[in-house]
Symmetry: C2
Subunit: 200 residues, 2 copies
DNA sequence: CATAAGTCGAACAGGGTTGTTCGACTACCT
DNA sequence: AGGTAGTCGAACAACCCTGTTCGACTTATG
């Protein structure tokens, strides 16, 4: 149990069997999908979705809470990557915002109720804290837009950020429910948010 | 068991004891408050909040689901009353919308997560169906605004309604969480929504 | 190929929920 | 003042969930 040196150079036996590593990613994928569909998804649901036994989940994640934490972290990391790929710090603020909106909303749509799941099972401040990395990008963009005279200054920055965030989610939900045509969402969001944010 | 005529003119023994009627309103009040605070509020929670025994709840409501249904119906009825009191069909659309917003948001704030509770425990289409009475007022107002050239016509009406609805809720949540000053909410919502809806 | 690592199903304990039943008790109503 | 409608607490059954343990089985890996 404490060989410490096995050839591969691993310290404390952290290297798992290829088998197990494959299952871990399968579990995370299944959990992501399950939580996105049903915020109350149980370990049984997720195990079934992953095609594995429930016990196996507990072999890799000590608790449902921890699994959810992991899923949330990975998802937010991907969001951050996508936001940064839209280079929100470059070009005219309005155009940067439009770029961000269009690249972002499919993600929110795909991850559906995962956020609700997190808010239900994890402490509220933790959820908020984990979000503030990607959130900062939006906030920075809004602040820049205000400084450059493109966005309105008569409302609190945080409220404008909340507006962006909320409407992104709402549009994603509407699209998921089939009440909004997928192709139209980008344009609709862009028009709505630019109108809500632009100065004058 | 089938007296049918008892003097008071009641048909099938529907008249309850004054005692019981008092408790029924207490239960509904407690349930409303409990659901508004915690969408997962249990019958035990509600009974405790009402100062009654859990069994008594079941004496008046056959199930938690039915109780939630009742609470939802009463709440929506009150919303409808408040919306109508703002006479959304009169005056310039922008002003009518502003009136409606200002009279509406404290309600949404007060009822907090009741909507979430309903969405969790009741079939989605039922929740939606119950909302379409008050929703119709908003939709009518938006449509009128478009017809009179005050509101934009380049986006679907349903999306504009969703925008109003969503941002009202978001602002109410922010206020409840202390991230938005209560006195400021009305003005902030009015400015944001008018900017999002107005034509051009 | 042998062994250690991983999987799996069944079964368990512990907690929570919804509804129901019982008998004793209490408030109302006439 | 007495009969009845209503309340209440305790206890029950049924269900679902999380986490854990067991022993038997399968698979990777060296």
């Amino acid at each position: 149990m404490a060989h410490t040196t096995d050839r591969g150079g691993r310290k404390a036996g952290t290297r798992k069997r290829a088998d197990a590593e494959r299952n871990i990613v399968a579990i995370i994928a299944a959990a992501t999908e399950s939580f996105a569909r049903d915020p109350d998804a149980s370990m049984t649901d997720i195990a079934k979705a992953a095609g594995l036994g429930r016990v196996t989940l507990y072999a890799h994640f000590p608790s449902r809470e921890q699994l959810l934490r992991t899923v949330l972290a990975e998802t937010i990391a991907e969001s951050t990557r996508i936001i940064e790929a839209a280079s929100p710090a470059e070009g005219p603020p309005a155009e940067a915002l439009a770029r961000m909106i269009r690249s972002c909303w499919p993600l929110l749509s795909r991850f559906g109720s995962l956020h609700a799941a997190a808010q239900r099972a994890l402490p509220a401040d933790e959820v908020r804290r984990r979000h503030d990395r990607p959130m900062a990008h939006v906030e920075r963009l809004v602040a820049r837009g205000r400084a450059e005279g493109a966005f309105r200054t008569d409302l609190p920055v945080e409220w404008l950020v909340t507006t962006v965030y909320t409407l992104l989610h709402a549009a994603a939900d509407e699209a998921a429910a089939g009440r909004l045509a997928t192709e139209a969402v980008g344009e609709i969001l862009e028009k709505t948010l630019l109108a809500a944010l632009k100065s004058e």
